[in-house]
């Protein structure tokens, strides 16, 4: 009986193809928008999480200045760190797996007639560890190279590609402005960061080399600190703050002239932001489902009026109120859930295309497909019930008289 009712509903819908397709458009748009938005949001969250994992886990960044302070980010007293600060952190604070002081500046890398504008970063081998860099080939710096400030360098994947193309750079000498520098290693590629910058576009040299032969000072512009697994980054952060206040002679009344940023917090902030955005977009899409439902109610009311005579005939020859109600309800549900089905397919296609376009991974979530399809069916029941009940409650005598 219910199967026959569904067939009857399908036939009725086929009779008014144009009207039916316009009616379900709202549901189609709503469902596909929900699925596209939520899937892309999930992909973005996955990308942010994996990007930050690439950045290095349990990572803290110590920088001079007071961090973000309103527009312009006024950094009042920007006293740079020195190598001694990093050494003190490594010596006095427990639970660390790496401390990497670093300084960097823009430079021109030259090999043969190839010329590439990039950044040169001076640091130690710890930099590779805390920032989670893997060597594709070659080796790290030796202790002697670091101490003596030798002219050796490790290339990021982008620099290597731009200067050498397919050639092997190991053992060759490139120039960083005036400094001739031997290539001892190449890094694996990390790709773009979530902020859209190319992480592979830099050259790593020993910190001392940078200070002496390029920058001409002893400044350390940032210290990367990574905590051992299982050590609270919160506690490490507090320890560093205490130590640095002491070393920089900050009295208890004064504010810090440096700041420590916990990258883990950044992860949760960014994924949190992505989630809120996804939720908002999903909510906007859900509104169009509501609008679609109202469209279905409208067209069902029209249909009941148009088919008053048919309803009268059915009631007169023995249909119960319930039979007629179910007939129209099923019609509404078939209408809305076929819209839901089309919407699911369109939404998945949209998510695949959108993911490729935005460069985020396509993370298929069966849950949201099931939920949005179920919601489309529920919209049919919800908005179809009122017109269907009206149909069932018609007076057969009046209905038969209706022209």
């Amino acid at each position: 009986m219910i199967w026959e009712t569904i067939l009857l509903a399908l036939r009725q819908i086929r009779r008014n193809v144009m009207r039916s397709s316009l009616t379900i458009l709202g549901i189609v748009i709503g469902v596909s928008a929900v699925i596209t938005m939520v899937t892309l949001g999930g992909g973005a969250t996955a990308k942010v999480t994996s990007d930050i994992a690439k950045l290095g886990t349990n990572l803290l960044l110590v920088r001079p200045g007071q961090g973000f302070r309103g527009p312009g980010g006024t950094r009042s007293t920007e006293d740079m760190f020195a190598v001694g600060d990093a050494e003190a952190i490594g010596r006095d604070i427990s639970g660390l797996s790496g401390v990497a002081p670093m300084a960097s500046q823009g430079t021109q890398a030259i090999y043969g007639n190839q010329n590439w504008s990039t950044t040169v970063t001076g640091s130690t081998n710890d930099y590779l560890e805390v920032r989670n860099w893997q060597l594709e080939k070659g080796r790290q710096f030796t202790g002697g190279e670091l101490r003596a400030g030798k002219a050796v360098c490790i290339l990021g994947a982008t620099v290597r590609k731009e200067l050498f193309g397919g050639l092997d750079p190991l053992g060759t000498t490139i120039r960083l402005e005036k400094l001739a520098c031997q290539v001892i290693g190449v890094l694996e590629s990390k790709g773009e960061s979530s902020f859209g910058t190319d992480q592979d576009d830099f050259v790593l040299i020993p910190l001392r080399t940078l200070q002496r032969r390029i920058a001409g000072n002893t400044d350390v512009s940032a210290i990367y600190v990574s905590a051992q697994d299982g050590v609270s980054t919160k506690k490490v952060e507090q320890d560093i703050e205490r130590l640095m206040r002491e070393r920089r002679h900050i009295s208890s009344a004064d504010e810090d002239n440096f700041h420590v940023r916990d990258m883990q917090e950044l992860v949760s902030t960014m994924t949190g932001t992505t989630r809120v955005l996804t939720g908002l977009l999903g909510a906007v899409a859900a509104v169009s489902l509501l609008v679609g439902g109202i469209g279905i109610m409208n067209i069902m009311l029209v249909s009941v009026t148009e088919r008053t005579r048919e309803i009268g005939i059915r009631l007169a020859i023995g249909a119960l109120e319930r039979d007629v109600l179910i007939q129209f309800l099923v019609e509404a549900v078939v209408l809305s859930s076929s819209g839901g089905l089309i919407g699911v397919l369109l939404g998945i296609v949209g998510a695949i295309v959108g993911a490729r376009f935005l460069g985020v991974p396509f993370v298929f979530d069966p849950g949201i497909v099931v939920i949005s399809f179920a919601v489309s069916g529920a919209v049919g029941v919800l908005f179809g019930y009122f017109p269907a009940r009206r149909a069932g409650q018609l007076d057969p005598i009046e209905a038969l008289r209706h022209e």
């Binding site: 026959e4 009268g312 007169a316 020859i317 023995g318 119960l320 057969p396």
Partner: protein
């Protein structure tokens, strides 16, 4: 359908109206469509109901068809008081015991003759194969074999009315209620329809109550009841074969 399980068949006429009144509206604006109508119809009768417009014959048919209930008095169908039944119970009674034929045929548009005839069986929960079989038999009984797949738009008026009659008899009802079944037909087609009804009345012992304006059509009936101003004005026994 157990509605008649406790009846005392034989003691009761098939249809009995006991002082039935129907009043629309209330107070000064009240309109008395029926005034204390008393009427009984036995199984196998072919009754023609006549009377001018507004005489109450349509109201009476609606009450007999369980589409409407009396304001006062009682309508007993096989001894069961229809006035005490719910809307759904009356629908079940219609579905099992009554067949309807209307002046305007009232077939479903864009639906084949066969499917139109099957319709009442669907609501009785008859299986698809049996439905088809019975619908084909009913169409054959009204002389429309070969026209099963035609939609009402492709059939003449007389054929449409035959489909309607097939739909009414496919459930093997006790009573067939016909409201001006020949009102939209020319005289030749009308006679064919009346002969068909007479045949059903004779062969299947279906009780027929028919409203008509035309004396020629009423002549086919075994009994003629005239309404005037909401009351039975006169009755005439025809002395037909079923009496």
């Amino acid at each position: 359908m157990n509605m008649t399980s406790s009846n005392q068949k034989g003691n009761h006429p098939l249809i009995e109206l006991q002082d039935v009144s129907k009043v629309y509206g209330a107070g000064a604006a009240a309109m008395h469509a029926l005034r204390r109508v008393a009427l009984s119809i036995d199984e196998g009768e072919f009754v023609a109901v006549m009377g001018p417009s507004g005489s109450g014959k349509s109201t009476c048919m609606n009450i007999l068809g369980c589409l409407d209930t009396p304001t006062m008095g009682a309508y007993l169908f096989e001894g069961v008081d229809v006035g005490g039944l719910s809307r759904d119970q009356r629908a079940v009674l219609r579905r099992n015991y009554l067949g309807f034929v209307f002046q305007g045929y009232n077939l479903l548009n864009r639906t084949s003759a066969l499917e139109n005839v099957e319709l009442p069986l669907i609501y009785r929960g008859v299986s698809a194969t049996e439905r088809r079989e019975r619908a084909e038999q009913a169409l054959e009984a009204v002389g429309l074999n070969g026209w099963e797949s035609h939609t009402p738009g492709e059939l003449s008026g007389g054929q449409q009315q035959r489909v309607a009659i097939a739909r009414a008899i496919v459930t093997s009802p006790k009573v067939l209620l016909a409201d001006e079944p020949t009102g939209n037909l020319d005289s030749a087609r009308s006679c064919e329809i009346m002969e068909l009804l007479t045949r059903l009345n004779h062969e299947r012992r279906i009780t027929i109550v028919m409203v008509t304006h035309e004396r020629d059509m009423a002549a086919y009936a075994t009994r003629v009841i005239r309404f005037l101003d909401g009351a039975v004005h006169s009755e005439k026994q025809d002395g037909g074969t079923s009496e």
